[in-house]
């Protein structure tokens, strides 16, 4: 596991790594030693939390360095990585298993259909020109919905930062 942590540390900017790299490895070592006798599930949870923290931290440091974002950490502390531990909802694991099973069944089904069909001898023809007109429309649609989503997210984010959404909770007291 330590090898994985060392590899993930390489994702950090050089300056950061030089400053904290060895210290972080020492902390990870101490944590690993202390948890050596715990159950496999507990150790896996710990490893997942550390991996998520290292990847998130490295990403944050690059964004900070690249865009000279000074205040992002306090935002990041509260909203993203600095949650109360790393929690992987059980429902997600069940959902992922169902999706994986679905994908496997679909592949098997596809293979069965492929073997029952006669060999396809017709040459593959290029896409009809009429179809290519659809493509820009589809791309424009995706971009439009992406922009709407982004704008919505920005509004919600701004409201959360300003605390305006909490006004509704206190306005009742003033009547």
């Amino acid at each position: 596991m330590l090898r994985v942590y060392r590899k993930l540390l390489r994702l950090y900017p050089t300056e950061y790594r030089e400053l904290f790299g060895e210290e972080m490895i020492a902390v990870l070592l101490q944590e690993r030693d202390e948890n050596a006798n715990r159950k496999l599930a507990a150790r896996a949870r710990l490893a997942l939390r550390e991996i998520a923290g290292l990847v998130g931290g490295a990403l944050h440091e690059h964004v900070r360095v690249r865009f000279e974002f000074r205040d992002v950490l306090f935002l990041y502390d509260g909203r993203f990585t600095m949650r109360n531990g790393f929690r992987f909802p059980k429902a997600t694991a069940v959902l992922m298993t169902i999706i994986l099973a679905g994908v496997i069944v679909a592949i098997r089904k596809g293979e069965v259909i492929a073997t029952t069909l006669p060999p396809f001898s017709q040459p593959v023809t290029p896409v009809h020109p009429a179809h290519s007109y659809l493509l820009p429309g589809v791309i424009a649609g995706i971009l439009f919905f992406y922009a709407v989503g982004l704008a919505g997210w920005a509004i919600v984010f701004a409201l959360r930062r300003s605390g305006v959404h909490r006004l509704a909770d206190v306005s009742g007291e003033q009547h």
């Binding site: 210290e23 990870l28 550390e50 998520a52």
Partner: protein, 118 residues
């Protein structure tokens, strides 16, 4: 003066602190600590509710160092020369501001809740 003083002197742009940052500062308030000790102390102080990853802890420490809220030094009494962290006077002042802010909110909340219950 308003019960909850929100003047810039009291509430600077760094407050309120997030819970993990507050816990890091509280961990360093009584004595200097090294990274692993901070992690364990935070876990103990929050009864296991706040568990930071190493990456998250060092991200916060970097920021606090950059803002001169904490400082880094080499512990002399260890054979390995571990790096440790302690609060700077500015960090201690800001921690006190945050504690005062929280006290005021608690007092206000108690008053409001008591008024509602009458």
């Amino acid at each position: 003066m308003a019960l909850y003083d929100m003047s810039p002197q009291v509430i600077n742009d760094k407050l309120p602190l997030t819970e993990p940052v507050l816990l890091i500062l509280l961990s360093l308030a009584s004595e200097p600590q090294h990274g692993y000790a901070i992690l364990k102390d935070i876990e103990r102080m929050s009864n296991g509710r706040v568990v930071l990853s190493t990456g998250t802890l060092y991200g916060a420490l970097r920021r606090l160092l950059e803002d001169d809220w904490i400082e880094r030094f080499e512990e002399e009494d260890t054979s390995r020369g571990k790096q440790a962290y302690r609060l700077t006077p500015q960090g201690r002042r800001n921690l006190q501001l945050e504690i005062d802010r929280m006290k005021q909110i608690t007092r206000l909340a108690s008053l409001r809740v008591a008024l509602k219950e009458r």
